[in-house]
């Protein structure tokens, strides 16, 4: 009988130990969010069509301000192909560092600079932002969270005005289009 009690005690000990064994990880969650954003950005690159002049050489994706996203994009997509172009990822921490890209992502912390960014890049750069909405950011694609879900808005009018053709996949799946 004593042994029975001993084992029962062990059982309850397991319960207590197990409770502390697997803590929910904010870091893992953060990485998941970054990965998701990266997949969207890669999809934007695949589903937007640039003018002929931009279809040779490497395909540049720039990240302004978000080092973690840059690392994710760099690890996952460098040298993957967009058509026949190899993807190269660039990171810009300061406004004056920003160079020409096919697609430039401006993170939320740098959104205040977006007006200046627009002036420094060519019109054929697909400007992707994460901000309140397309109108305030003035970008062509904007990330927003709707009921916990990462979604995107598309400014088709502005994109087409700048010779960028938004593919059907994006217009179909966008949260909103203007």
């Amino acid at each position: 009988m004593k042994l029975n009690i001993k084992i029962a005690f062990l059982f309850s000990l397991i319960l207590v130990l197990s409770a502390g064994s697997s803590l929910a990880q904010t870091d893992a969650s953060k990485i998941a969010k970054i990965k998701l954003k990266g997949i969207y950005i890669y999809s934007f690159a695949k589903n937007v069509y640039w003018p002929q002049d931009y279809s040779t050489g490497d395909f540049f994706i720039g990240v302004y301000g978000d080092n973690d996203l840059y690392a994710q994009l760099n690890n996952s997509y460098t040298d993957k192909l967009i058509g026949s172009q190899k993807i190269k990822i660039k990171f810009f921490n300061e406004l004056d560092q920003i160079k020409e890209c096919h697609l430039l992502f401006v993170c939320e912390e740098k959104i205040k600079d977006i007006g200046s960014v627009r002036k420094n890049i060519s019109k054929q750069t697909l400007l992707v932002s994460e901000g309140e909405n397309l109108v305030t950011t003035g970008s062509m694609i904007n990330f927003i969270y709707v009921q916990s879900r990462l979604k995107f808005q598309v400014n088709k009018t502005k994109s087409e005005k700048n010779d960028l053709k938004i593919g059907q996949t994006l217009t179909k799946l966008a949260h909103s289009i203007i």
Binding site: A8, S18, A19, A24, A32, Y42, S148, L173
Partner: protein
């Protein structure tokens, strides 16, 4: 345990002569069998049981013969097989005790038979517990077999026994084992997650306020949501797939919340729970709530440790 065995020995050594004469034809081999057992020659005694049956076939209807068979095989299990979980003697001992009970119309052996059965039931429970204690993801199948045998036997000798507490622990630990199994290979062992959730829910069916299980389920659901994005989603996945996977992940994050909220109500100062809640709200992108719980966590960390 020791006192139980003493009682068994008492009945083996004191009853034989009288019973042998009164219940069946005299069987000298039976007396020799008792001697063998008495001298602790358990293997000899075990083999001699067959001789007794051969020489005195009417023993097949003797509750005493089967009682003795149960005792001998139980000791073979204990002393010869060193309580090995794969010992066949244990099963034979059970069948012998049960057969004795069946034949024991005058209830002369049933108390002692049940005592023997109870010890064997405990041995099954201990075998299960030793595996579960290690949260052994390789031999857990044996734990299931042993635990079911324990329950089956215990029900026979104590039909109204309340298994709630043991079932709760068993299901909680099995939930952990299946979870670890999944974590060992998240793609290949995906189905173990369902088994884990089923076991945790069985534990909660017994006690809906069980802190450890509520915590485990809350964390499991949250981590499943993260795993979907980190492990199941290819970096070049189509957007349609991304949207579906994101939906699944959000579903898991939402599932995690009620469990963690409930135990936060039980232990508002538990840092792990507050951290868990902050993580879930972060995943749900409810940054207001995330910041709220991160601030709670910061305050808790700044509090001096209690004297308890």
């Amino acid at each position: 345990m020791k006192s139980g065995i003493k009682i068994l020995l008492f009945i083996v050594f004191t009853l034989p002569t009288a019973l042998m004469y009164s219940q069946t034809n005299y069987c000298p081999e039976f007396m020799l069998l008792i001697q063998k057992y008495k001298s602790k020659s358990y293997n000899d005694a075990k083999l001699y049981l067959d001789t007794v049956m051969l020489k005195c076939p009417d023993q097949i209807n003797s509750a005493y013969y089967w009682h003795l068979s149960g005792v001998i095989y139980y000791d073979v299990f204990r002393y010869v097989d060193n309580k090995s979980p794969i010992s066949k003697a244990r099963e034979i001992s059970i069948n012998s005790f049960l057969q004795s009970n069946k034949l024991d119309k005058k209830n002369k052996f049933s108390v002692h038979n049940n005592q023997g059965l109870s010890h064997i039931a405990t041995s099954y429970y201990n075998d299960a517990a030793l595996i579960l204690q290690k949260e052994d993801t390789v031999n857990y199948d044996n734990a299931i077999v042993f635990y079911n045998k324990y329950k089956e036997l215990k029900k026979k000798i104590q039909p109204d026994y309340d298994f709630s507490e043991k079932d709760l622990s068993y299901n909680h630990v099995m939930g952990n084992i299946y979870k670890y199994k999944y974590e060992n290979n998240k793609r290949y062992y995906r189905s173990y997650v369902d088994s884990s959730i089923i076991c945790y829910n069985r534990a909660l069916d017994i006690d809906s306020n069980n802190f450890e299980t509520l915590y485990a389920l809350g964390i499991l659901y949250h981590n499943l949501g993260v795993d979907i994005i980190l492990n199941d989603l290819e970096v070049d996945a189509d957007l349609e797939k991304v949207i579906i996977m994101q939906e699944k992940a959000i579903g898991y994050f939402s599932d995690a919340l009620p469990y963690l909220k409930k135990i936060h109500g039980f232990k508002p100062s538990d840092k792990q729970i507050v951290h868990g809640l902050a993580a879930v709200y972060f995943s749900l992108n409810d940054m207001e709530q995330h910041v709220k719980y991160m601030n709670v966590l910061r305050e808790l960390k700044n509090q001096p440790p209690s004297n308890k």
